[in-house]
């Protein structure tokens, strides 16, 4: 304000000045920043905690042996540290899970977004999302003691699925990640502008054509994100594979009807036994953990890139 300001003017000016600080506001801000920092700090902490034993492990086992060896037997007398059996089992289970979850998840999403009337959607979507809240240990036991006996009974040939096997673990895991894929894909399809659907209908499209040729491609970024998140969950899932997936790791198992240890199943198993801190066995857990972390990290990076690539600007 200029020097010619009258008394009335300065009175009006002072009314706008900060009368008092708002302590609640600044406290809340500090708390919120702290909350955000905790998750960042946790991630950094995980990297640090993984790094030291992992480095210790690779001082005794060459990286080449680790990534090319075809036998993983840290608990055997004849020790071998080739991680490929664990990776192969993880890939197999994830593959089975995606074969189940992508069609079911996308199908549910298309139904909910394009076909279901609003009232049905309002009831069904929370129910599907509820499936995501079922503890994975329940999926594991259902797979082992309910689904697998059925699978064994119905199997057409003699050499059917083993007591624990990758197929049944993958099926259970697939059912587990259906809600993830369905829910995120549906959100993404619901965000496709109505004008695109109208444009497609006006060109004599059937409902199915509108869904598959316009809505799904336009929602592709969200669908890809949903699938990658599903893969992340499958790769990191532990309980189902520990219970129902089997423990073989001395050779690469390619037959999904046999059991084999995934990376997570190995970590869970060996961690529940007595292993001396600082031993090679102990360090091997962290080496596998670090690999798992890298894979998940890479998946997330890929997903971010894919989401950018497929992102469509509607206006």
């Amino acid at each position: 304000m200029s020097t010619s300001t009258s008394n009335a003017g300065s009175a009006a000016g002072s009314a706008l000045r900060r009368g008092r600080r708002r302590p609640v506001d600044s406290t809340v801000k500090v708390l919120l920043v702290a909350a955000a920092l905790v998750s960042v700090a946790t991630t950094i902490g995980i990297v640090i905690a993984l790094a030291q034993p992992t480095v210790g492990f690779f001082q005794q086992v060459s990286i080449v042996e680790f990534v090319t060896g075809t036998s993983w037997t840290p608990t055997f007398a004849q020790k071998a540290y080739g991680v490929l059996p664990l990776v192969a089992a993880t890939l197999t289970v994830t593959g089975v899970a995606l074969t189940i979850a992508v069609p079911l998840g996308l199908g549910s999403a298309i139904y909910l977004s394009e076909y279901a009337n609003p009232r049905t959607r309002k009831v069904l979507k929370p129910i599907i999302e509820l499936l995501a809240g079922v503890p994975t240990v329940v999926y594991g036991f259902v797979a082992l003691f309910a689904l697998n006996p059925l699978l064994q009974r119905w199997w057409p040939t003699d050499n059917g699925p083993a007591f624990q096997n990758l197929l049944i673990a993958g099926i259970a895991m697939g059912i587990m990640i259906v809600p993830t894929i369905a829910s995120i894909s549906e959100d993404s399809m619901a965000a496709v502008p109505r004008s695109l659907r109208e444009g497609a209908y006006a060109l004599a499209s059937t409902k199915m054509q509108v869904s598959t040729r316009v809505v799904v491609p336009a929602a592709m970024s969200g669908i890809v994100a949903a699938v990658v998140l599903g893969i992340s969950r499958a790769v990191g899932e532990t309980m189902i594979v520990t219970i129902a997936g089997g423990l073989t790791s001395d050779r690469i198992v390619l037959n999904p009807l046999e059991g084999a240890a995934t990376m997570t199943a190995f970590i869970a198993n060996i961690s529940s036994g007595d292993i001396p801190v600082g031993s090679l066995d102990y360090d091997s857990v962290f080496a596998v953990g670090a690999l798992l972390f890298l894979i998940t990290f890479a998946l997330n990076a890929v997903s971010i890139r894919m989401v950018r690539r497929f992102r469509e600007v509607y206006e």
Binding site: N117, G199, A202, L203, T206, V313, Y314
Partner: protein, 288 residues
């Protein structure tokens, strides 16, 4: 009013038809390709437009004008059953296309929309390449085409867009300017060779130059297509159309607004010698 009465009585409730003046309207325009008879459109219990009767003449441009909320877009959307997509929307009265009731039980709305296409207010190209946008309709309708490339080129030429996009057919339709996007949407519509093109305020999101291009294009297209355009721009209606329908919104005893057709006439007559006082007030700017 008898909503099931499908008798078509041109000249009774419709002024001006059959008395062509000089200028654009064809002299043989007495045989309409579409006919609305006592059409009312409801959203649930609410009657959005009541008792509309008017013809759509073949290979002519029919404009629908009127203030906001007068139901002109609602009526337009009833012409190719786009209202079907709105839950609770219902049409009474008769909309006939070559004498066939579009709302008869055995009529397939997909077939209706293949013959009666639509261009929307906001350009809505698909997030696909320019080529795929144009090829979309022929593909989904299973049109037998000897060469899709030729069909795409033809449609883009007819929409006066070919020269601007011929070198970038693989780029996204969304990379075009607003006016180009709207012409792409027109190309996409004519690619399925409809008989009638409905346009819902196709220029309202465009600048004057792009608007002029679309208007030229409409005149060009009316050689081959029947066009119905909704516009809130009276000058546009006066410039491009052969026939004009003026709608207004009436407020009833319950304070509900209902759209109503006031006057339908040849465009020249409606703008120079309107029969209804409300039309005159609107076109002279005293109302609306």
């Amino acid at each position: 009013m008898n909503p099931t009465d499908t008798t078509i009585r041109p000249g009774v409730s419709i002024a001006g038809v059959g008395t062509p003046s000089t200028g654009a309207p064809r002299s043989d325009a007495a045989d309409p390709v579409m006919e609305l008879s006592g059409v009312s459109v409801y959203y649930g219990a609410y009657e959005a437009v009541r008792d509309t009767s008017m013809p759509i003449q073949e290979k002519q441009i029919t404009a629908m004008i009127g203030p906001s909320g007068c139901g002109k877009s609602t009526i337009l959307r009833s012409l190719n059953r786009m209202n079907d997509l709105i839950p609770g929307a219902r049409v009474s009265g008769a909309v006939t296309y070559h004498g066939q009731d579009l709302y008869a039980k055995d009529v397939d709305p997909i077939e209706v929309r293949r013959r009666i296409g639509m261009v929307f207010q906001k350009p809505n190209p698909f997030p696909k390449s320019i080529y795929d946008n144009v090829a979309y309709g022929p593909r989904v309708t299973g049109m037998k085409v000897s060469s899709m490339d030729d069909l795409v080129e033809r449609a883009l030429r007819d929409a006066a867009l070919w020269d601007e996009v011929k070198d970038k057919l693989k780029t996204s339709g969304l990379a075009l300017s607003g006016g180009q996007q709207q012409r792409l949407c027109i190309a996409r519509t004519i690619a399925v060779r409809p008989e009638i093109i409905l346009m819902d305020e196709p220029c309202s999101a465009l600048d004057p130059i792009a608007t002029a291009k679309i208007e030229d294009l409409m005149s060009e297209l009316s050689n081959d297509y029947t066009i119905v355009i909704v516009t809130h721009n009276m000058q546009q209606a006066a410039r491009v159309s052969h026939y004009t329908a003026f709608f207004t919104a009436e407020v009833d005893e319950q304070q509900e607004r209902h759209g109503r057709l006031v006057e339908f006439s040849q465009t020249g007559k409606l703008f120079t010698n309107p029969a209804d006082k409300r039309t005159e007030d609107y076109i002279t700017g005293r109302f609306g």
